[in-house]
Each structure stands twice: as C-alpha cells, then as structure tokens.
Symmetry: C2
Subunit: 359 residues, 2 copies
C-alpha cells in the first residue's frame, strides 16, 4: 500500500507560528503532503508561507484541495483544548464522502460523532485519532531509569518551542554519526511523523508517566540513544502537570532545553492568554534539574533555540547569548544545524556507555 | 428521598491503611454506612478493625451484607490503576439484580460493562461513577490566584498521607470558628463525602489544572477559606504530574504538608513498589514552595501528620519533631485535634483579608 497523501486542513491558521502539525508534516514528510487548505493563504506555496516546503500548494476550498488527489484529510491545527470547530465538520463529511481517510489530532474524537462515524463505516474509510491513547496504560514507577540507552528529553520555556523539532533534527544527525537512535513521539504531530506513539496530554492523568515509561522501555533495547519528545512547560499553569508526569515517567539522564528566542511571555502565542515573563534560561535549567531530581537526577546538556522571526545576526547573537548565560552548548538546530547539540548528546551517550553520568 | 445506605465492598482490604474510601465514609458519613464486605475481617466491627466507626459490622458474604438492608453498593477500595477486579463483577451484578445503586471510584467505568449497564437499566438502578469527570473542562491559566478567599491546598510526602482527612478536619473546625469555609473534593472519596467534585486524576491530562481552577473559582465567592483536597506527591514518579497540575490550577496561597509519620519509603504502602526514602519534611516544604513559585508563590503554613500505628508517646514526639524540623505548626488532626493548623489557616485568612500575603 502506498503511503497516504495528505490534504492538510489548517484554515485561517497556516503560518510559521500557528500550524505546528501542518508545518512539521511539510518539513519531515513532504512527499506525503498533497496540499494545505487555508482560504487566507490560497494561491501561495508552502515555501512562500513558511520559508520551506517548496511548491506544496495552499488552496482556498475543499474542492480545490480534492483536485490535488489526496488520499487522506489531516486535521492539521490543534485548537486550544483540542476540540473540533463546528465549521470543519462539513469539510470532514465531504472528505469522507469522497473516500478520504481522516487523521485527527483533536481531543474530540471524530469517531464519537455518530453521523461522521456512520459515514466512515459506510464508505470504508479509516478515522485515525492521533490522540487516542491505549486503554491499558500502567502507573509509572521509575523503571525507565534502568535502561542502558541514554534517554534524552526535550523540555521547554513554554509550549510550542520546538521540542519535537529538536529531537527530529537530532534523530537524523545522530543516525548519520552511527549512533543507534530511537525517537519516542508523545504528541499528535510526532505520532504522525513516527507512525507510532502516545499523546501523553490525552491520557487519563494517572497514566501520564506510565505512557512515557512504557514507550521508553519499548524503545531502549538495542538503542544507544532514546530521544523523547517533550510536552508543555513546568512554568505554564495549563500544562505543567503533563510536563512533570512525562519527566518522571521517562526518567531521562539528559535534557535539552528548548526556547523560542523571540518570545518574552509564557503563552503569548495564544492571543489574550499571555501569562508572565519567561524566566531566564539559566533559571529554567535549574528548575528542570530540580524537578528531575525529585525522582531521578538529570542534567540539562544543551539549549535548542527557535530563532524563527529574528534576523540572521540577531539569531546568531541569541544562540551565543544562550550559550553564555547557561554555560551549555546552544544551537538553532533548524536554522544553523544541530551540531553542538549532537556533540553534547554523543558525549553523554559515550559517558553512559562507560558507566558514568552525563557531563 | 432519604440518604443512601451503603454496603461497602472492600474484600481482602479492610484495614487502617488499605481501604481509604471505606474508612473515610465510616469516619465522615457513618450514618450512611450499613456495613463492610470483607471475608478476611468478617464478624468484627469497624471499631475493632479501624479504631473508630462503632458497631458498623463487617460481613463475609454478599448475602450477609444484603441482610443489612443497604440501598447502594459502594466499591470501597481503589486498586492501583483503578481497574475492576474480575471477582467483584459477580457481586456487583447480584447487587444490581437486588435493586441497589452502585457507586464506584474505579477508573474502569461500570457503565462500560455492557452486561452490568443493561442490567442496571432493566432494574432502574443508578450507576454513579465518582471518577468520571465533566466533558467540558478548560485549560487552566492561573485565574484561581485572583480569588478573594484564602485557598489552601494539602500536599504530601507520598500518596495516601491524609490530604483529604486534614481538610475535612479543618472544614469542621474552621466552620466552628465562624469562618465561611468550603471544601473542594478532587478524589472519589472526597466526592462521595462532599456530594460533588471532580476526580482530577481521572481527567484527560491536559485538563488537570483546568478542573482544579474551575472548582476553586466556583467555591470561592462568599467564602473566607477554600480547602482543596490534594492528590499524589511531587516526589512520586507515578502521580507527580497530577500533583503539579492541581497545584498550578488551584493557585493556593497556602499549603499544608501531609505526612504519614510511620512511613520511610515512597510508595511502601503498595507491596513491592516502594521507591526511595521520603525526603526530610523541611526539604519537602522547600520542594512544594519551589514548585508553586513557578506559577504563583505559596507558603507551606503547617504540617499534618498521620501518626496512626505509633504509640501515643511516639506520636506526640513525631508531631514535636515535625514542628521543630520545619519551624511550622504541626498536628495529627485526627488523633490530637487540628487546633495548631486551624490557628495557622485562620491567621493566613486574616492576613489575606487584610491584603497581605500569608505568613
């Protein structure tokens, strides 16, 4: 069976900062993206909107999207709270009628909509809910600390800072260096790209850590490095529980702190919901090492900056400043390449193999 | 309609340390407890098994329990992970056949069992799932910090340390002092006693904080003090995510640290799952104040010890030692009365009213 070709639904939201799932699919599985549906950007290309993605077209109507011969509709943005906007139901219905599978990362299950579920059955198309977790998750108990592989978790100054992207860039680069590296996806976009994983923010709260623990234990055998996609932030009041559960379930020995260099306030990417100033990076390093230590000590070994939106010289200065402020290797892995972070992970993996703790 | 009379199912587990929901119902709503089903303690009374509860009988079979004329069956222990033991299904089925409502705090919904659900419909009995949360919870955003009332959260050195009990003792005592006091239930037992609440460990992980925030915002108007039932522990790898989400959603100004004075290892109440030594109390105070401060500063204002199992002089010494180690008021609110903690909360409430932060 050939890979699916996705029409990505991102209406009113396709842009560098606003359509994380769509953008990641375009970056990491571009051959599977037929086009993007967003009336506000119709007629442009992914390259023009995002700065990458080449000629992938943006269309303004479902009909124009269907003309690109997609085999699946991907609900490509995750509204706050994850629920299905009413207006999108009609498009999803039409897509199902036309025989497309539907992949969704929403909290609301499309399969729970009786009309859409019945229609999907009648048409024989698949509804793939990226956020629906397995039913039999355990409660975590720190078992992941015992794996031989180096477990690396990305952590953040906020939501939406590049925690998945940093790991995917490291996955590619560490593999190129000959390290046996596995990626553990914990969010809908990562699952879409990896083809497997558990959306930890969608599990019943008691099992956040258990989901992480199970995935790490499954990924570790035979691996030198296990890269776990982080979620949320310990300093964001809406998502800190998910972040800490993931940290204590995955039991990483090393963390990489991810930060959007242009952002000043927690949550400012959601209009009207900005919280308070993001703490300095060195303070965030301290916070994450403190919180890890309540269960199992872990070190932050590098800083991954997202400098999108900054001019080149400002971006380079931000990377240099992050390194100076924290005394750690820093990089924008997308813009300037992940080499300093790859070095840091490879060194920590070597030290773990040698039976020492990461530097 | 008269209040329900519960037959509490706690087979093989009825005891001071092993049947939290049953014990709390016996302590706080004894008039609603017809009896306890536990073959291993049959023939004894609640008083003999627990040291409180008077003549409430323990029976060894469902038939003997039904002879006590209960109107509801309460699934009175919460197995790790919350799932329904296979052997209990038959008892639940028989209880439904005999016209009893079933109240359950399990993760597994009894209503999801097709046979039991159909039987309940046919018999017209109610299946009340204490852990099933509302479907429309928000993501929290720190709004609870703005309420006028003093919000007090109990936090713990581990799970099962008396976080609900401390609040229920404070509720009674603060009310007696004329403070308008509300209790926010966050677990199945608290919900059973309060008649309302949300089991925060059963919500989808993204909404832990939102559940807490919603309940605090609803309870605060007109109250001097809002007592929020804590859950889990920041130092327990299985439950720390729930604990932090609850802390950052509820935004308390004050915390009371709860500790079982006889316990040395985290999780040792679950055989075979003991984790590592519980940190010293002063270190736990620092940890909770640190974690609260990532979103909104809060002070630990007292220590609630559970000294059950210690001799009287050892218990008194443990309370004195806790006060000395932390420099905070300490009490076993059940054994010695909550007065030192009541004083601390009343003082903090007065200071909040006066526009100052809690001492």
């Amino acid at each position: 069976m050939p890979p699916l070709r996705f029409l990505i639904l991102a209406d009113g939201a396709f842009g560098p900062e606003t359509s994380k799932t769509a953008n990641s699919a375009i970056r990491y599985i571009p051959g599977q993206v037929a086009g993007v549906l967003d009336a506000s950007a119709a007629g442009r290309t992914a390259q023009e909107v995002l700065g990458f993605g080449g000629p992938i077209p943006v269309v303004g109507s479902l009909d124009a999207g269907l003309a690109l011969a997609p085999t699946a509709l991907l609900v490509g943005i995750a509204p706050r709270g994850g629920r299905l906007p009413e207006a999108w139901r009609g498009w999803i219905r039409t897509a199902i009628e036309r025989g497309l599978d539907v992949w969704s990362g929403l909290h609301t299950r499309i399969a729970d909509d009786p009309e859409l579920a019945a229609l999907a059955r009648a048409r024989g198309v698949r509804l793939r809910e990226l956020r629906v977790p397995p039913a039999d998750l355990p409660v975590s108990n720190g078992r992941a600390r015992d794996v031989d592989a180096l477990v690396v978790l990305t952590v953040g100054s906020d939501c939406n800072t590049g925690k998945m992207t940093a790991q995917l860039e490291l996955l590619r680069a560490l593999g190129a260096r000959g390290l046996r590296t596995r990626f553990v996806a914990t969010g809908q976009t990562g699952i879409l790209i990896a083809g497997e994983g558990i959306a930890v923010d969608a599990v019943v709260a008691d099992f956040i850590g258990g989901a992480a623990e199970r995935m790490v234990l499954a990924a570790a055998p035979g691996a030198d490095v296990v890269l776990v996609e982080g979620q949320g932030s310990l300093v964001h009041p809406g998502y800190s529980g998910v972040t800490l559960g993931l940290l204590h379930g995955a039991c990483p020995a090393a963390m990489i702190l991810c930060h959007n260099a242009a952002r000043r306030l927690i949550g400012e990417y959601h209009p009207g919901e900005a919280w308070r100033p993001i703490p300095p990076l060195a303070e965030l390093v301290r916070i994450y090492e403190e919180a890890a230590g309540w269960v199992q000590p872990a070190r932050v070994i590098g800083i991954a900056l997202n400098t999108h939106g900054l001019a080149a010289d400002a971006a380079a200065a931000a990377v240099e400043r992050a390194a100076r402020e924290t005394g750690l290797p820093a990089a924008d892995p997308v813009r300037f390449g992940p080499a300093p972070l790859v070095d840091a992970v490879a060194r920590a993996a070597g030290e773990r193999r040698a039976g020492r703790t990461p530097a």
